[in-house]
């Protein structure tokens, strides 16, 4: 049985900077690993995190806007309004921060539509960010995605550890076990030796996250 695998904050920072350097100009089709930048807290050092903004396609607000339209033929025929309701590009601010409680990275994100309004959890579940097939028996409450018999919700709201702003985050309590298991398996299969052990850890973390988040 593989042991849980964690990393320290400095190892996380080292791995993150190595990831950015490795994939900055890479021609690999590894969209999950590209486009990240390292951000620091404006005042306090040592609270850095990976940050990225992604555009998602979705029309989460379409149905809501339709309900708000008054029942008038003139409005329905107004092409400008109709176009605005269906232009569903969503902005997703993504962060990978260090969780000192669990000693692993944690994925935080916010999503808002083209008008700047934050999406509700039900709308987020319907975007392309989360892989629906990975959420088979999930209860969607207004504040969290809850799995039956689980101690913690899969997805819930929390304050971004460095920015302090509200965001959604994937709970990292199972991360250490799963990444440890995967790294143990890679070592057992005698895969080519990695030059940067912590970068390898982070890449394995991304692989694990790919099960639920379409990065």
């Amino acid at each position: 049985m593989s042991s849980p695998s964690t990393l320290t904050r400095s190892q996380f920072e080292q791995a993150s900077k190595a990831l950015i350097a490795k994939y900055a100009n890479s021609t690999l089709n590894a969209t999950a690993l590209k486009g990240w930048s390292w951000e620091e807290h404006p005042t306090f050092p040592g609270l850095g995190y990976l940050s990225r903004t992604a555009l998602l396609q979705g029309c989460a607000r379409c149905d809501l806007l339709k309900d708000d339209f008054p029942e008038s033929e003139e409005v329905v025929e107004d092409l400008a309004l109709a176009h605005g309701a269906s232009s569903g590009f969503l902005t997703c601010g993504q962060s990978i921060t260090f969780s000192p409680t669990f000693q692993v990275p944690a994925f935080y994100f916010t999503i808002h539509d083209s008008h700047g309004s934050l999406l509700t959890l039900e709308e987020i579940v319907n975007t392309s960010l989360l892989r629906r097939h990975a959420l088979p028996e999930i209860q969607v409450t207004p504040y969290a995605l809850v799995q039956p018999d689980a101690l913690f919700p899969l997805l819930s709201q929390g304050d971004h550890p460095t920015l302090g702003t509200p965001a959604w985050f994937i709970h990292p309590c199972g991360t250490a076990c799963v990444v440890g298991e995967l790294i143990g398996e890679k070592n057992a299969e005698e895969m080519p030796e990695v030059s940067d052990k912590w970068l390898h850890w982070l890449e394995t973390w991304f692989m694990m996250m790919g099960n639920i988040v379409d990065l």
């Binding site: 799995q147 994937i170 076990c177 298991e181 890679k186």
Partner: protein, 128 residues
């Protein structure tokens, strides 16, 4: 009313059949028909358990390439007797987690090793 040059051109194009556009239309329809046909070819998928995941007696299966990866996930769940709510995570070559709508054809073409597509599977709960 006298016809304008544009109207004459339009009316002549409507009345006389254009062999070139008929040929390209036929070609387009043929392309659509061939795209609709599902490739019956099969490739070998090899399942490899990760960590404490149950090991199956048989790990090699033939899968039709036109299937999406979602079909492989559902097949694996059925073979393991794993219900929908129980955690099951899949990886290709322990390198990435494929999207459920990726086709087996593309995955095999890009990532097959030694004539089979390696699908690693893990049952360790990752979330919550």
């Amino acid at each position: 009313m006298a016809l304008t040059p544009d109207a004459i051109h339009l009316s002549s194009s409507l009345s006389a059949p254009d062999p070139a556009s008929d040929a390209s239309l036929a070609e387009g329809l043929a392309a659509l028909e061939s795209y609709k046909k599902k490739d019956p070819a099969k490739v070998v998928v090899r399942f490899k358990a990760v960590g404490n995941a149950p090991i199956m007696k048989q790990n090699f299966f033939r899968v039709t390439v036109s299937n999406h990866f979602q079909a492989v996930i559902q097949f694996l769940r059925k073979e393991l007797g794993w219900k929908a709510g129980e955690p099951l995570f899949t990886y290709i070559n322990l390198a990435f987690s494929p999207a459920p709508d990726d086709t087996i054809a593309n995955l095999y073409r890009s990532f097959a090793t030694d004539g089979h597509l390696i699908v690693n599977y893990s049952t360790t709960a990752a979330w919550g």
